[in-house]
């Protein structure tokens, strides 16, 4: 790794004091003159039509301030989602909103509304909708094929001979792709396994719900949402309001997490936006935990039939997947198809066929969640790989290294010309080695299946991959005559630290002490540049590139100014120690403060009065507002891309399983990572561990439970849908991480993101470890989460009460 002054070093994030002292303002902490509160009337049924609504008693209530109905919203084309609806398609979907002087009054007003609903047919489990004659969640179809809302059903012939809960491998699908010779792949395999696998739907459950406050002033919308991205959320808010992005002021300095559910907005923000416009008062919509569970997004569940072939040497020769995605009632998710996409990269099978259908259900709307499709892929495929390895008596680490992606590896669906896309870099074997050493795999694996009293020990590992960077966005900063560097961050501050970490690239490039830098963030009126989404682990790669582009621009300008004032050519000068100076003679030069003043004097490109033509309009507007304040570094990232930026995490876990109680205890976890240059070790660790913990949640506890007769979610509260808490994390020994620190060749600083891939490593390693503990006969559940009841039921060979793929039990 290069010898950096700032990168790769821990430091204190600039927003830390505000957070620990409670001064940080989240969406619901904001207030505005004359503000009223709104509450939502939500559907008590999984699918219904509003027959009549009488709001007269509510409107007569003292303190009532107004209401908003679905009829007042712009129409949304199917299968899009509207903020309010007269045909709710899941329990908890907002039907109308009431504003009042306080929440008590608004709630009472809702209870005074007489509403008549006509229940409609509903579907909870995608397989029910695919079966011959099965019901549809939407009256206009059960899936999207290409761009058409249509219906996919299996035939009686497809289902012939199948046991309940089985998927017909050749049944109709909405999409498919294939590469290599699948038949030859299976023929060459020494072990061929075929299993059905179930992956649960998972609510995102960020600690901060999507509370939003909005008001209108001077023709502009002021909106205080809880979003992941700052720059990228301005456009969606403008769209919800029906105005231009330049008329939106978005303020969101702190966000309590999102995990993909708030990347660049959420349609429910339209409620306070339009209600405040209608009634002429600021409107605060505090979203409750229950509402967040209803419309705060969820990861699509996947039900799949998977066939995998492995050669005696451990090479995976073929994978054939038919996957069904649980899509909720709106939009379109590719998670189920991505089971193949991410699997093809992580395990590089010689041949692969991926077939699947995303099916609409009357369950909460889905959205991208940390490694969408990737986490499902690792959690569902790793147990098959482990089982095959066991049958061939192969070491799991060696099998993963045999199948590891390398260099600019190709993966996924072939394009129109038949070639697959490639990654910018892959150092997977190095990541596996790093993790295996931290975990002490060679010694630990000896404990596999060991029994101590009633407890069995299991060890497992998984290789996970996911997107790790975007490109093509802008960097923007100003070096002012006070000698300080003012860096603009449009990323969004949802707790990952990248809002600040990536600005360190600008400081590093300018050789500027961090104490001399100030970062502006979280407020679109602060002249922020066009940025990538704060999602998909994009920011690390994208904004080190963008800020480096701005650094190159600023350094060139500094050198030109020095040459103008001191003679010679720009290339005679270099930048360092807060000066631009003649090479080899530090005393002959200008201080940054002096150079900044000279930039203002010179104007033109130097102080931002003339701007590059290829930067985004948002950056142009911001830079124009900042022009004349100092020397401006502003540029679009035009560095070469080299392929899709993907990171890799190898996760290792040890568990014990008590065969008398079904209790699973996670003893230890370690992760080895291929993420290029680590920018900030502390936030890096937070991503690797946080992702792993979300993976433990997948493997061990979190799920929905639905009553099948009424179509309603019964596991609504945390204590019954069970996301993990800190007490569920291994605490007898600290979790460990390591990085191979091999730079990505297509990033000037070598950096890639990490948050996404971290989760599948956690879930995959734990499900494999559980199977390892219990042995082949009892341990292969092919269903997540693996809970106490499943283990006890399996050990007693007792009935489970449901089919192998039944959803939401």
């Amino acid at each position: 790794m290069a010898d950096y002054k700032l990168l790769g070093k821990n430091y204190q994030l600039p927003d830390l004091y505000a957070k620990v002292t409670g001064r940080s303002k989240y969406a619901e902490d904001h207030r505005a003159e004359g503000m009223v509160f709104c509450k939502l009337l939500v559907s008590p049924m999984p699918h219904a039509r509003v027959v009549s609504v009488d709001t007269s008693r509510a409107e007569a209530l003292p303190g009532f301030a107004g209401l908003l109905t679905a009829d007042e919203l712009p129409e949304v084309e199917a299968p899009g989602e509207s903020a309010l609806t007269n045909e709710p398609r899941y329990e908890g979907e907002p039907i109308l909103a009431v504003a009042a002087v306080d929440e008590q009054t608004a709630s009472l007003a809702i209870e005074l509304i007489d509403i008549v609903l006509e229940p409609l047919e509903f579907v909870l489990d995608p397989l029910d909708s695919l079966r011959p004659g099965g019901p549809n969640a939407r009256s206009d179809g059960n899936t999207m094929v290409s761009r058409e809302l249509t219906e996919v059903k299996w035939t009686e012939a497809d289902m012939a001979g199948l046991a309940p809960g089985e998927i017909p491998m050749e049944g109709a699908v909405g999409a498919e792709w294939e590469y290599g010779d699948l038949a030859a792949g299976f023929a060459d395999a020494d072990v061929v396994l075929e299993e059905h696998s179930y992956f649960q739907s998972l609510s995102h459950q960020p600690l901060e719900s999507r509370t939003t406050m909005a008001y209108w002033e001077g023709g502009k919308l002021f909106v205080y949402p809880s979003v992941q991205s700052t720059a990228r959320s301005v456009g969606p808010m403008a769209r919800y309001a029906g105005i231009e992005p330049s008329d939106v002021v978005l303020i969101n300095e702190f966000t309590g997490g999102g995990f993909g559910s708030k990347i660049s907005g959420y349609v429910q923000a339209q409620i306070p936006i339009l209600l405040s416009k209608k009634i002429g008062k600021p409107v605060m919509m505090r979203v409750t935990r229950r509402d967040e569970t209803s419309f705060g997004r969820a990861r699509p569940g996947v039900q799949a039939r998977i066939k995998l072939g492995m050669r005696r040497d451990g090479r995976i020769t073929a994978i054939d997947i038919h996957a069904i995605g649980d899509g909720g009632p709106y939009g379109r998710s590719g998670d189920h198809m991505n089971v193949g996409g991410m699997g093809s990269l992580a395990y590089q099978p010689l041949s692969m066929r991926m077939r699947g259908t995303g099916v609409y259900t009357n369950t909460p709307p889905r959205g991208a969640q940390r490694g969408p499709g990737g986490v499902q892929s690792m959690t569902m495929l790793e147990p098959l790989i482990a089982k095959a390895a066991k049958q061939l008596q192969l070491d799991l680490v060696e099998v993963h290294k045999t199948n590891a992606a390398e260099g600019q590896a190709r993966f996924g669906a072939p394009g129109r010309d038949g070639t697959q896309g490639n990654v910018s870099s892959a150092f997977v074997r190095e990541a596996i080695d790093t993790g295996a050493e931290l975990f002490n795999w060679t010694e630990r694996v000896q404990r596999s299946g060991q029994r101590n009293g009633t407890k069995l020990t299991g060890v497992g590992m998984a290789v996970s991959t996911y997107a790790a960077g975007a490109s093509g966005v802008d960097g923007l900063f100003v070096l002012k005559p006070d000698g300080r560097l003012y860096i603009k961050s449009g990323i969004g501050n949802l707790g990952t630290g990248s809002t600040f970490d990536m600005m360190r690239a600008a400081a590093e490039g300018m050789d500027m002490p961090w104490e001399q830098c100030e970062v502006a963030w979280g407020d679109s009126s602060q002249n922020l540049p066009w940025s990538c989404s704060q999602g998909g682990s994009s920011t690390t790669h994208a904004h080190t590139r963008a800020n480096w582009a701005a650094v190159l621009d600023a350094r060139q300008k500094l050198q030109e100014i020095a040459a103008r004032d001191l003679g010679g050519s720009a290339s005679d000068y270099e930048v360092g120690g807060e000066r631009v100076y003649r090479r080899g003679n530090r005393s002959q030069g200008l201080s940054f403060a002096r150079a900044a003043q000279r930039a203002i004097d010179l104007g033109g490109t130097y102080d931002g009065h003339e701007l590059p033509e290829d930067i985004n309009g948002m950056t142009t507007a911001s830079a124009t507002a900042l022009a004349g304040q100092g020397l401006m570094g502003v540029a679009k990232d035009n560095f070469e891309e080299g392929g899709r930026r993907m990171s890799f995490v190898a996760g290792f876990a040890e568990v014990t399983v008590d065969i008398e109680t079904g209790e699973i205890k996670l003893i230890d976890y370690a992760a080895g990572c291929d993420v290029g240059t680590v920018i900030h070790p502390r936030t890096f660790a937070a991503q690797v561990f946080g992702g792993a913990i979300q993976g433990f949640s997948v493997a061990l506890s979190q799920k929905w439970v639905y009553d099948r007769r009424w179509g309603l979610l019964v596991a609504k509260r945390f204590y019954n849908n069970r996301p993990p808490g800190i007490l569920d994390v291994p605490h007898e020994q600290p979790m460990k991480w390591g990085a191979s620190e091999l730079p990505d060749p297509f990033n000037p600083l070598g950096a890639k993101g990490v948050g996404e891939a971290a989760q599948g490593a956690g879930s995959g390693a734990v499900v494999v470890a559980i199977a390892d503990a219990l042995g082949e006969q009892d341990g292969n559940f092919f269903r997540s989460p693996v809970t106490r009841d499943m283990i006890l039921t399996q050990l007693e060979q007792a009935p489970t009460g449901h089919d192998r793929l039944t959803a939401h039990v």
């Binding site: 008398e660 009553d707 009424w710 019964v714 204590y719 069970r722 007490l727 009841d789 007792a798």
Partner: protein, 335 residues
């Protein structure tokens, strides 16, 4: 009327400074009054607007109800003692470590700081249909939503169902039953003492409450006699996650042995029935037997005689069997 959740409705709050005032308020308001202890059970109900009492009597300011003191024959724990205070109490830890361990197994650190022992044993069931406002038997309706074949009942009962299939979720209750504790209940100026075993009420007696407490009653303290002080008392709870979870099943077994022979035992399980269940058949079967694997195994088998699992909770049968077995076979765990 449309339904809205997650907003506590307005209610009239009383914060009496002593037990007499509290009792007077409870007498005055009868069934309109709600007794508020630590609030962990209460606030969920209020937030969902499912239970909407007119008057709330907050016991938080009554210091006398919070005392833990030694008595001539054991220990007396004020109903308002926080779980953390029970856990940290020196005498509880030395004489009745299983109680401290059970209290430590309840909920989360935050909840144990706020939740009371009286609340922990008197809390309502966590049946997810009932808690979510479904108008079931327990809520005054005429149906159980948790028992039909399409219902989700993984966490419901395998014993003692009577129209309602909800379970008692307390972790401290089975220990108190095993220890032969007594509940001190006041009503106006009258005081009655109820054996812990009789404190809990099943649906066959009254489907709308979990304990003997009626409007106007106040649980003031719990007396634990010295009978089982220092004895071998085993508690274990199995739950889905360690962060905050109610028991799938828990067990409390008090056992006295002499020369390897079990002289006396009290075996109690919870999370399997609408009340904590004392397994007298198991107690009878193991009394006079050697404490060994075989006796433990037999105890487990006897424990599950007569169980009637629902569609999704068959695993509780094995779990109960194994926990009873462990409670006799294994050494007790402590805080």
């Amino acid at each position: 009327m449309a339904v809205i959740r997650d907003v506590i409705p307005q209610l009239e709050l009383f914060q009496p400074a002593n037990a007499d005032d509290a009792l007077a308020l409870l007498a005055e308001h009868g069934s309109d009054a709600w007794v508020y202890a630590g609030g962990l059970d209460t606030l969920d109900w209020f937030k969902d607007r499912v239970k909407r009492p007119r008057v709330v009597v907050d016991l938080g300011g009554i210091e006398s109800l919070r005392e833990i003191r030694s008595t001539a024959d054991g220990i007396e724990i004020g109903a308002m003692a926080r779980l953390i205070e029970v856990i940290n109490h020196a005498e509880v830890r030395s004489q009745f470590p299983a109680l401290a361990f059970a209290a430590q197994s309840a909920a989360s650190p935050q909840i144990r700081n706020q939740g009371t022992i009286g609340g922990n044993i008197s809390q309502d069931t966590r049946c997810w249909y009932y808690r979510d406002g479904w108008t079931c038997y327990r809520a005054g309706g005429n149906i159980c939503y948790a028992s039909p074949p399409t219902a989700m009942n993984r966490e419901h009962c395998i014993l003692g169902a009577s129209r309602c299939v909800a379970v008692n979720p307390s972790d401290t209750a089975p220990v108190l039953v095993a220890l032969g504790a007594e509940m001190v209940v006041r009503r106006g100026s009258a005081e009655r003492v109820v054996a812990a075993e009789d404190y809990f009420v099943g649906p066959e007696i009254d489907i709308e409450r979990m304990t003997v407490l009626e409007p106007g009653d106040l649980l003031t303290s719990i007396r634990i006699p010295s009978t089982w002080a220092g004895a071998r008392v085993y508690f274990e709870k199995i739950r889905d996650r360690d962060t905050w979870d109610f028991p799938l099943v828990n067990v409390a077994t008090a056992l006295r042995e002499s020369g390897g022979t079990i002289e006396d035992a009290r075996v109690v399980v919870n999370g399997v029935a609408p009340t904590p269940v004392r397994l007298t058949a198991v107690e009878d079967a193991i009394r006079g037997q050697a404490r060994n694997e075989q006796t433990a195994e037999r105890a487990g088998s006897i424990a599950i005689q007569g169980v009637a699992p629902l569609t999704h909770n068959g695993f509780k049968v094995n779990l109960m069997k194994n926990l009873v077995k462990r409670s006799i076979r294994d050494e007790p765990m402590t805080v």
